[in-house]
Assembly symmetry: C2
Homo-oligomer: 200 residues x 2
DNA sequence: CCCTTTTCACCTAGGTGGTAAGAT
DNA sequence: ATCTTACCACCTAGGTGAAAAGGG
């Protein structure tokens, strides 16, 4: 009923333990979440959103080339952890017509950014997280859009788990980002050598 | 109840008879439509949209430095002329909180683009148009969003009238666009001379 | 002849990781 | 010592009018 798009890429990152940068002004995820939905009622209305929850109750530290647990996580986290898909609410037909992507979702460590509800997800650095997809049927007149209600279906793909960081720890992850994120093209080795080769 | 933002700029263009470029792939308006709404019920739901209607039934031609009428307009125009604000539907509080802008609205002469409903407004070159703002209270469960219903309020500002063109006719209009549209900065005279002056 | 389309250099706007400085 | 922030060069993505080419 729900498929994770770009699964092979997610799997490559997951094999090395995915890291996602968080900044004060907010940083996009890469890879970003994208799903294909099916089995909805084409004429019913749904809201679709993503939230991000702690996988465990530990700090993590990158030490000797490995991620290791280290002490307890801090108490209740302040800040928003829910991101409503900008198309919400919309019909089942709309959600099934094309992939449902969260390319503009941003992660931040700025607790004050909780004001921008629906803009950024507030996380804590060096904690491990699991993004989840929620598909909620909205019966018109049932209060505000978006927040998971009794009629919500929730989906979580372990391949999308990540550790929030303020700087990359594992060089393998850095290289995967550089190789696959178009905005990091400036850091690709092959980029210069393409032209260097054609000059000889 | 509705105010046209950036009125002084619109007035400057209007004094010279505003022109708006239309292209196959769609061209943004400049200036773009932006309104401030007040007097709505903060908890009621509204859809907000813009449409563009013919001002008269004539072709226009730019001749001898003046716009002159010239023959009858063509019959019924095919294609979409309605642009739903991307935030629609939303609460009165939302619409009143900040200006309601249509900066991404695009104008086209491509009749086949009528597929992209809500993306582009299809117009005919060398005809004079009046954009209109529609604010529709949406009672939940009343069919689809957006199209003006019996409970719609409509507003039209004569200062926003324009003639659709595929290339600018009046050099005064071209200069106003260059002077005020940030994306046309490359054509501003002052741009190079700023540096030239500081070299002496 | 008049109008439209295509292509271009030049911009705005903003997403990358690297790096060095700052904070604890 | 470890983690965070600010700034940077370098990229993607796409909005400008000019000018030349295309079309009826």
């Amino acid at each position: 009923q729900v498929m994770l798009n770009n699964y092979p890429l997610w799997a490559k990152f997951h094999k090395h333990q995915t890291e996602m940068i968080i900044t004060k002004q907010g940083r996009r995820m890469f890879p970003f979440l994208s799903f294909s939905l099916s089995g909805l009622n084409p004429v019913a209305h749904y809201s679709v959103c993503v939230d991000v929850v702690l996988v465990d109750q530990h700090h993590w530290r990158y030490q000797g080339g490995k991620w290791v647990q280290c002490g307890k996580a801090e108490g209740n986290m302040p800040g928003n952890r829910l991101y409503l898909h900008p198309d919400s609410p919309n019909t089942g037909a709309h959600w099934m017509r094309q992939e449902v992507s969260f390319g503009k979702l941003k992660l931040t460590n700025n607790k004050g950014a909780a004001n921008n509800v629906g803009q950024m997800i507030v996380l804590q650095s060096l904690h491990k997280y699991q993004p989840r997809l929620h598909v909620t049927e909205v019966k018109e007149g049932e209060g505000e859009e978006g927040y998971p209600s009794p009629h919500t279906h929730t989906f979580a793909f372990p391949e999308t788990q990540f550790i929030a960081v303020t700087a990359y720890q594992n060089a393998d992850i850095t290289q995967l980002k550089i190789d696959h994120n178009p905005f990091a093209k400036g850091f690709r080795d092959n980029f210069d050598s393409m032209y260097a080769a054609s000059e000889g």
